[in-house]
């Protein structure tokens, strides 16, 4: 197997950028050519809830347009990290910067729940995503375009209550995409879907990411999903980045291939061995 695995190294060699130099080059070539994404730099990020210190100093650089997956056991702080990046919670210490001034519409979040307004039809729900441009003349046209991208143009006049779970999540994706965000943060967006719907949603996520070139940050507890989608997988343990794994597999990726399975296996064994130590 050609893919060298950082996870197979002793823990002392964690996340040193030098370790990834050979792979980083390859990753750059895989990224969409015209990236609209923003780079992201995190320095010494800390967050506590009461006495519970959830994030204990995160340092991270994400190049523009990269697809990063964050995995870890529940309660490890991965969702908190995502919420801080998206600006949903207040930072205790450290910084998150995007290298330039950003508009609220540049960063969008997609949650595990679709969070659609039950009293608004599908198209109106997508228009919510336009933010301050909601009142503009082309709002309808832009929302319809986003809805077409997620394959639900024919559901534009439906109520959310008649859609299936996967369809609702696709509407939520359309709503997140409609403002052409430059960073898209996913908080376990496929966690509540059945296995087959998950796979088709993963393909959809990968396709829109390749088409639009935003920087994607995906929090997930499913390691198979992380290695199938991401350029890079971050493993978070006890509020720190424990492993930074480059997924050097060409796209389109074959689900269930030996390469991906090997990667998944070694990340999983690390997550589980951490479990044994405690």
């Amino acid at each position: 197997m050609q893919t060298a695995l950082r996870t197979s190294l002793p823990e002392t060699e964690l996340a040193s950028p030098a370790n990834f130099a050979p792979h980083a080059r390859v990753v750059r070539e895989e990224r969409p050519i015209h990236t609209s994404g923003l780079p992201l730099s995190i320095r010494g990020l800390r967050k506590s809830f009461g006495d519970n210190e959830v994030l204990r100093g995160i340092d991270l650089h994400i190049p523009a347009g990269q697809f990063v997956a964050i995995v870890g056991k529940s309660g490890c702080g991965k969702s908190t990290l995502l919420r801080l990046i998206a600006g949903l919670d207040k930072i205790d210490a450290g910084s998150v910067s995007f290298g330039q001034d950003i508009q609220p519409e540049d960063i969008r979040v997609m949650f595990q729940e679709p969070r659609l307004l039950p009293w608004a039809r599908v198209l109106a729900n997508v228009e919510v995503g336009l933010g301050r441009d909601r009142a503009s003349k082309d709002a309808h046209a832009r929302a319809e375009k986003a809805l077409t991208e997620v394959g639900l143009a024919d559901k534009r006049d439906q109520w959310p209550s008649v859609l299936s779970g996967g369809q609702k999540q696709r509407v939520a994706l359309g709503r997140a995409l409609v403002s052409r965000p430059r960073v898209l943060a996913f908080d376990e967006p496929l966690g509540a879907l059945d296995a087959l719907t998950r796979i088709s949603m993963q393909r959809l996520l990968e396709r829109v990411w390749r088409d639009q070139g935003f920087t994607a940050i995906l929090v997930t507890h499913d390691v198979a999903e992380a290695v199938a989608l991401a350029d890079r997988v971050l493993v978070i343990e006890e509020g720190r980045i424990a492993h930074d794994v480059v997924v050097n597999v060409a796209r389109p990726r074959q689900r269930g291939s030996a390469e991906l399975a090997g990667l998944e296996g070694s990340i999983l064994s690390h997550l589980l061995s951490a479990d044994d130590r405690t």
Binding site: R115, L117, P118, W119, A120, V128, S161, V162
Partner: protein
């Protein structure tokens, strides 16, 4: 969402035309049995007059114009009292649901007042207002205030916080957030309050009119009792039942018109 899910009925029961008639089978059957019991002498007319006698009494009062006038007076009192009490309750519900300061300032006081049965205030209200219109309006308004206040407050406080967070993330202003997320989310609960309030509205009015009034349905019933006109007494009671049903139907129509998005109200 805490909203009730739609209950799907088997296809055979869903025919709308039959549905509309089914609900009237039981009331009509009761009237038929009552008529038979009266005609056969099983129930003496001094206890309960036959439905036909009640209908006849109604017809006479209708011709004299007395019935229409009294119904109109009661209807007017009910609506004005409901509007006054309902709007104040709604305003307090909004204020206390949206503002912590307002809730801290007034909620405890309102909860204390709520525990006083408003009909217990009748002696005081008569002393204040006499048997004037304002006495009845005051009692009705006080009665409908609490169900609308409590349910508006509850509705606003239980709007899905995830939807509110979503609205904020997508840059909604406070006004937009209220109009597009909070108010529609609270509406089902507000309607529960309205329907409770309609029940209390009639109850309060009947009591107020029987005790202190010189017109209205309650007054008509009390006058009839004085002259042993039992058919008119029964007629008044039946009219109250019909008006109550009418008010409930009106609120249902309004509910359907505004909660069209709700799975429970969608055409199946």
């Amino acid at each position: 969402m805490s909203l009730i899910d739609s209950i799907s009925l088997p296809r055979s029961v869903r025919l709308p035309r039959v549905d509309g008639l089914v609900q009237w089978i039981v009331p009509l059957a009761i009237i038929a049995i009552w008529q038979i019991a009266s005609v056969t002498g099983f129930v003496p007319t001094r206890v309960l007059p036959a439905p036909s006698d009640v209908a006849l009494a109604g017809w006479k009062l209708l011709l004299s114009g007395e019935l229409v006038r009294n119904i109109w007076v009661s209807f007017w009192r009910a609506s004005i009292g409901f509007l006054i009490g309902g709007s104040i309750g709604f305003a307090f519900g909004l204020a206390n649901g949206l503002s912590q300061i307002s809730a801290k300032l007034t909620d405890t006081t309102l909860q204390m007042v709520r525990n006083v049965p408003h009909l217990a205030l009748i002696p005081l209200v008569i002393l204040w207002f006499g048997i004037d219109e304002s006495a009845k309006l005051f009692l009705v308004a006080l009665g409908v205030f609490f169900p609308i206040y409590l349910n508006t407050l509850h509705g606003i406080r239980t709007v899905d916080p995830q939807l509110i967070e979503m609205g904020r993330i997508y840059g909604m202003t406070d006004g937009e957030l209220f109009r597009r997320v909070i108010f529609p989310g609270a509406l089902p609960s507000i309607f529960v309050g309205i329907r409770f309030a309609l029940g209390i509205m009639w109850l309060t009015l009947i009591v107020a009119e029987t005790i202190a009034a010189s017109s209205g349905l309650g007054y008509m019933a009390m006058q009839a009792r004085e002259f042993m006109l039992i058919d008119v007494v029964v007629l008044s009671i039946l009219i109250y039942a019909l008006l109550g049903k009418l008010a409930d139907s009106a609120s249902r129509v309004l509910e359907r018109a505004t909660l069209f998005w709700h799975p429970a109200f969608q055409k199946r």
